[in-house]
């Protein structure tokens, strides 16, 4: 697979792939990194938000 990197387009067979994820009350996030000679040359992330923003409305009394 061809990966866009800071060195240009590279075949992933030439790179070290690292992946990770975070899952908590706020989000589910996955990320992928490609390393070359000790440097990160590609990093992408996908954040899936779990919490929405809720505004509560109230009405006043006479």
């Amino acid at each position: 697979m061809i990966v866009t990197t800071t060195k240009g387009e590279m075949d992933d067979s030439l790179l070290e792939k690292r992946e990770g994820s975070v899952d908590n009350d706020n989000e589910n996030t996955t990320w992928v990194e490609y390393w070359l000679a000790g440097d990160v040359v590609h990093r992408s992330a996908h954040v899936r938000l779990k919490k929405s923003i809720v505004s509560q409305t109230e009405i006043g009394n006479f």
Binding site: T5, A45, H46, S52, I59
Partner: protein, 151 residues
């Protein structure tokens, strides 16, 4: 039957749809939906409930990222279910082939048609992107999960 004190649910959805203008100045001109944008902010920035409008202060910068962020896809009008009005952009926020080396942890959703007025701020774990793509997926557009809800 009995009367019940309540905020009318139709009003909540109509707020999101721009139907009511209770102030003295109506500044809306167009009849189409406003353009909504999403800008990313550094973890060191201060974006919160007090934010009134988009600002470049504290916004990320880097290769492939345009100041002001991306335009949200807005194909689904606000609606309501039960007593909750809600709205969610109809596609993920996707920042394609960007390099953002300083960590960021917030997206500000704002109305670029209406003087860049702020809508909502959403935080997440700090990220950096290197020659890659950052995707912020939207929650399910319903009364329980929608991105913006008025309950």
């Amino acid at each position: 039957m009995a009367n019940t004190q309540a905020m009318c649910t139709s009003f909540k959805a109509e707020i999101l749809n721009g139907i009511h203008a209770l102030g003295t100045t109506v500044i809306r001109a167009g009849t189409g939906a406003d353009t909504v944008k999403a800008a990313l902010y550094l973890a060191s920035a201060t974006v919160n409930a007090a934010t009134t409008a988009y600002s470049a202060t504290g916004e990320v910068s880097g290769t492939g990222y345009t100041a002001g962020g991306i335009t949200a896809t807005n194909a689904t009008a606000p609606t309501s279910s039960g007593t909750t009005a809600y709205w969610t952009p109809s596609a993920s926020f996707t920042y394609t082939t960007v390099t953002l080396t300083t960590s960021f942890d917030c997206v500000l959703v704002y109305n670029s048609t209406q003087s860049n007025k702020a809508i909502s701020a959403h935080t997440f774990g700090a990220q950096t992107i290197t020659a890659g793509t950052f995707v912020l997926s939207m929650p399910t557009n319903d009364s329980t999960n929608a991105l913006t809800r008025i309950a």
